[in-house]
Symmetry: C2
Subunit: 341 residues, 2 copies
DNA sequence: TTATACAATGTAAGCGTTTACATTCCCGAA
DNA sequence: TTCGGGAATGTAAACGCTTACATTGTATAA
């Protein structure tokens, strides 16, 4: 593995010279822009192949001011939905002929210089931003220069007209809790919130409260804990409830990971699910149907969210217009943990 | 959402002019290269903030011939290991101060123009390539120009000295099958291979055959099927065995997804696991411990693989040297599906 | 006092493309 | 025969940055 520098880069000039044409013609061949005689084209292609020429992306971007690339910014990489979401995004970008660049904001890392991300308006034609991937300040700046951005699972900051796509969190949560109340007659229903400031959790809680209100069940703060969308935290939260003797006949954990933790706590304490305490989650992770009892939950069209986000972004790039808000419908997945047979 | 073009881009010239210095000085401030008087620096920073200046990445790359970025190329996005692997890669890149650019090769899409990827030697300092992310031809070209590349879960093509990092597939499979034979006395052990040409599967099968050979168990082709690392395919494969009356007292499915399918087939056919047929998988997916019986399997340090790959790549970039092959150790996870109590 | 060294800054030549504009050539219409 | 017009191609000026080299000023050593 020697460290010797490679020979000088093959440039468009080399190709032009080799093919006996001008750089403009080579460029035309490569980008299929402007007319080129068949014969000339062949000579150029031969030269390209012979010299093993690769256009220099940075130079191309600089000169053309177009990137044909869309960027994706992630706050951190984890969660069951990451892979399908990314798949949807990558697939849709491909469909529209865009390349995809992804940048994951490191959790621990200090905020960048002023705010210079490796991807942004200088090397992409548009950005898909997942949850809190970008600070408000940066979002504002992009908005000001009318740079196309689409948000995923995130409401745009006050006053910024940025299109966003997410799922029917509130309506689904409402449905889930309605089910618990109407079908299974539960009335003391606990809720385990996600991490502080989590947008999905916010709306799910809203749906939970709406369901209560609609059935004249008073809201009891003692029945709302923090599950952090995390198995261990949720388990601890439920254990605490149990220990404190909080009465309840059902729990809506904000997501399925929490449900797993809640189930463990409940089972360990000798509570029967769903007989003593019904349990419902959100997300329909792989595990959900293998839990004992199988978990009643909500399935979100994760891949489709990614797909739709890119569709909107491309529309925004091409026409300057996009749907301000897209709420993708979810699907109730009734299994046994809610009490259904 | 208007489509009006944003005002002209703020360039380093604007900043220089505004701050009353030369562009060189501005560049020095931004990149902390060369000495700058405190007073001057302040003026420059103020100008940057005032004008809301952002360096143009493409221009910077073009001029400096450095990118401070490493690229990751994926064949397609899926699989349980995707998120942790990416996390490891992103985290390590961050540690070394590199940005990360990711490109996922679309499955269906036709191969690109000659072979021009959106990321490569022109916009990254090095590449991490996952399995068959890049065709051999491209790999060869990169090798020729001495461009730093590290492979993940993939042996370099004949004659190419490209460092690679993967896991102890063969040794772990061997261990697993040894366990089946030595501890549980099984001798008719089936194997479900992964997709055609899958590198991990190849080595796991090798480990399987080694274990058989070491115990003087003849290799029986009838006991080797294709599970495709996929639940449905694996299920069908096992059903076919059952239907054809193939005798067996254990199955080593190449991965856990297959194990799930195999388990379903076995259970549906009234076979008891592990009493009639012991079952072991590979990967230790989340689900594994929730199966009934809980699945004996192997845990791979997926995140660490990503981490190590980047570590080697950075080393390669900086010194031109790297470990040719790194095999990360795995961990046997004994649960009940193999027959252990 | 003078030579020296270094800190601070400026000048301008690239980096590898694209593309507006100019040029040449050829063909068919008048 | 002449001329307009497009097809095919070339010329050269950007694009926004880095950086080698030049310049200036100031402090220190001799």
């Amino acid at each position: 593995m020697s460290h010797s520098k490679p020979p000088a880069r093959v440039t468009i000039n080399d190709v032009a010279e080799y093919a006996g044409v001008s750089t403009a013609t080579v460029s035309r061949v490569i980008n299929r822009t402007g007319p080129v005689a068949a014969e000339t084209e062949q000579a150029v292609r031969a030269a390209i192949a012979e010299l093993n020429y690769r256009p220099h992306t940075a130079a191309k971007i600089l000169a053309s001011n177009r990137t044909n690339t869309i960027g994706l910014i992630f706050p951190q990489i984890s969660g069951y939905y990451f892979a399908p979401l990314l798949r949807g995004i990558a697939a849709c970008a491909g469909e529209y002929g865009f390349d995809l660049l992804i940048y994951s904001v490191q959790e621990g890392s200090a905020p960048r210089e002023p705010f210079t991300y490796p991807i942004g308006d200088q090397n992409t034609d548009g950005l898909v931003v997942f949850t809190e991937g970008l600070p408000e300040q940066e979002l504002r700046r992009l908005c000001e220069i009318a740079f196309p951005v689409v948000l995923i699972h995130c409401t745009p900051p006050e006053g910024l007209r940025i299109p966003s796509v997410t799922i029917e969190n509130k309506a689904s949560a409402r449905q889930l809790v309605d089910h618990l109340i109407e079908v299974h007659g539960r009335r003391r229903i606990g809720f385990l919130a996600g991490p502080k400031g989590h947008e999905d959790s916010y709306w799910r809680e809203k749906g939970y409260r709406e369901a209560l209100a609609a059935h004249n069940i008073p809201y009891d703060p003692a029945l709302v804990g923090v599950g952090g969308f995390n198995e261990a935290i949720a388990r601890a939260a439920v254990e605490k409830w149990l220990q404190e003797g909080v009465e309840m006949d059902a729990i809506f954990t904000g997501d399925d990971d929490s449900a797993t933790g809640a189930l463990a706590a409940l089972t360990a304490a000798g509570k029967r699910v769903p007989d003593d305490v019904a349990l419902v989650g959100f997300d329909d992770i792989d595990l959900a149907r293998y839990l004992n009892p199988p978990l009643t939950t909500v399935r979100a069209p994760v891949e489709q969210v990614g797909h739709e986000a890119v569709r909107q972004l491309v529309r925004l790039i091409r026409t300057g217009e996009a749907e301000p808000l897209i709420l993708l419908p979810t699907q109730l997945v009734i299994r046994q943990s809610c009490g259904c047979p």
